[in-house]
């Protein structure tokens, strides 16, 4: 075998393609379908059977609640009122609303805070909600109808399992897309390797049709996607790996883009105890983003110095830095950014028994005034 044989093999491949591929037929199929709809056939067909009224539907998500219809609880600022009326779960979400997933709570609402019992809850971009229970992602539209967008039962294979994590909702080419991290784990490696095979993929899921597309993937045994933020034509992926953290700057199709921004973390002090950069979140128009810079050297002892750093992606420069100190064992979690202010989750990791704390709200990074929300939970800021 020599160079000529290799070239001949590739030439044969080209000839096979030119002789056999049916370009016109495929082109017709491609242009008949303006968006990626092939997987949606499966998802939507499954989802059609689960359209039900929202009041009872959201209660059905509660994994530990044996009573399908407990009395609703209404929270108005600091006052809690019991009511026997059906809860209104989708009260009309507007920009600036903070959605909170309160673990184990009764669905409720207030003027400023919507509480829904689920793992993560996010605005669907048109007045409704998306709820993530790890194994399903469900849309509850503003009119109360419900649709299961993704179910791990459709993804799992015989030798592995899949988990879902809802990151955000963003408009891509005019359509609202749920941004979902799909983690696939092969539980029993069959080739003698010591460690299981784990991959993570970033999916965009059309919240109206359930159409999906996988736009980026990573070998998750070595790395872990910690946050995905999509705005305008940009997608910012925060990745943690054994040696630190980094950001990936991509377009909404998962292709790298040429912008200037922070990449790897910059070690401070001891190199083996680096600063962690994490939770990169784009502004709604995608021109800037904020991220957390966490001094992990005091992670186990607290307090933890955390800086919320603002970065102008178009200019490629840092534009601001708000320094906080998380006390009493609090750790930073999910952060959301509306282009002006942020909401930051805080939690206690008491050796696996995670306890949610009241999120921090900073209305404007420019003035830096920090307040605590009244209620604990995992926040998501509707844009």
């Amino acid at each position: 075998m020599n160079e000529r044989d290799i070239r001949t093999a590739f030439q044969h491949l080209k000839e096979d393609v030119m002789t056999n591929v049916q370009t016109e037929e495929r082109l017709e199929k491609a242009t008949k379908r303006p968006t990626w709809v092939r997987p949606a056939v499966t998802v939507f067909a499954g989802a059609a059977a689960v359209f039900i009224v929202v009041g009872a539907a959201v209660l059905a998500f509660r994994p530990s609640d044996p009573d399908p219809a407990p009395p609703a609880t209404t929270v108005t600022s600091t006052t809690v009122t019991e009511t026997t009326e059906e809860p209104t779960i989708v009260p009309g979400i507007t920009a600036g609303t903070v959605l909170l997933a309160e673990f184990g709570a009764t669905p409720a609402e207030s003027d400023e805070v919507v509480l829904v019992d689920g793992w993560t809850v996010t605005s669907d971009g048109s007045g409704g909600l998306l709820i993530d229970r790890s194994d399903t992602i469900t849309r509850v539209a503003a009119d109360g109808t419900e649709m299961v967008l993704l179910n791990t039962a459709d993804l799992s294979a015989d030798d592995g399992s899949a988990a879902l994590r809802l990151e955000d909702v963003a408009f891509v080419d005019g359509a609202a897309q749920a941004i979902v991290v799909v983690t696939y784990r092969q539980d029993t490696p069959d080739d003698g390797r010591e460690f299981p095979e784990i991959f993570q993929e970033i999916w965009q899921v059309d919240v109206e049709t359930g159409a999906t597309s996988s736009v980026w993937s990573i070998n998750a045994f070595e790395s872990n996607i910690t946050r995905v933020s999509v705005a305008s034509d940009r997608m910012l992926v925060s990745v943690a790996f054994e040696g630190g953290t980094y950001f990936e700057y991509l377009d909404t199709a998962g292709q790298p883009i040429d912008v200037v921004g922070p990449f790897y973390d910059e070690p401070i002090g001891v190199a083996s105890v680096p600063t962690v950069i994490d939770q990169g979140v784009l502004s709604p128009e995608g021109s800037m983003f904020v991220y957390l810079e966490i001094d992990s050297s005091t992670y186990l002892e607290g307090p933890i110095p955390v800086a919320i750093v603002s970065w102008d992606l178009d200019a490629g420069v840092e534009t601001g830095r708000l320094e906080l100190e998380l006390r009493n064992g609090a750790r930073p979690g999910r952060m959301d950014f509306d282009g002006s202010g942020v909401v930051l989750e805080r939690y206690l990791d008491r050796t696996a028994g995670i306890e949610q704390l009241e999120p921090l709200r900073i209305e404007s990074l420019a003035n830096g005034q920090v307040t605590e929300l009244d209620t604990s939970g995992r926040p998501s800021l509707a844009e």
Binding site: A9, F10, V21, E24, L27, P34, R38, A162, Q186, D251
Partner: protein, 172 residues
């Protein structure tokens, strides 16, 4: 070089998607077959890359080299296809259309098996080099790596092929 869109010049006007598709789709099938090592899914991988180009055509068509974009998408999809755990790929394979591409003949099979054992980026560099006669800077542009990195991928890939195939020929 046979790619009119792949040179340094910019397209004077936005190209219509059907013309782009007719020119690029067969080439994407060949790249997908070489990089994924699986002819039975090459047409679906190429189709998905073209669908993504179609979906983003308003933007992709304004790029100086939309062909580089769709090649990158094809290569990324093909590399994902080699990861048997890809959940999206599993779904795709369950509903894949029947392939029209024949399996390679016996004489070529040994070469394709050697190509399939190369690391992903080396496979991609090898495919672009042998299928399309791409130069180093073009491979670097498509793979979004530096020229030096592209050169290393191609050199190591060719060396590994020479070793695997028992060639005494020394590759540059």
């Amino acid at each position: 070089m046979s790619e009119p869109e792949s040179g340094a010049r910019a397209l004077p006007l936005r190209e219509a998607f059907p013309a782009f598709y007719r020119r690029e789709y067969p080439k994407m099938v060949a790249i997908a077959a070489a990089v994924s090592g699986n002819r039975s899914i090459a047409e679906d991988l190429a189709q998905e890359a073209m669908l993504r180009a179609h979906r983003h055509w308003d933007r992709v068509s304004t790029y100086e080299r939309p062909g580089a974009w769709v090649r990158r998408a094809t290569i990324n999809l093909s590399l994902s296809a080699t990861k048997r755990a890809s959940a999206e790929m599993r779904r795709m394979l369950r509903i894949a259309e029947s392939s029209t591409l024949p399996e390679p003949d016996v004489a070529d099979d040994r070469i394709w098996k050697a190509v399939a054992k190369l690391p992903g980026k080396q496979r991609a560099a090898i495919a672009l080099h042998y299928l399309e006669d791409r130069l180093i800077d073009e491979i670097a542009d498509i793979l979004k790596v530096s020229n030096a990195t592209a050169r290393v991928h191609l050199h190591r890939g060719r060396q590994a092929l020479a070793t695997a195939l028992g060639s005494e020929e020394v590759y540059a």
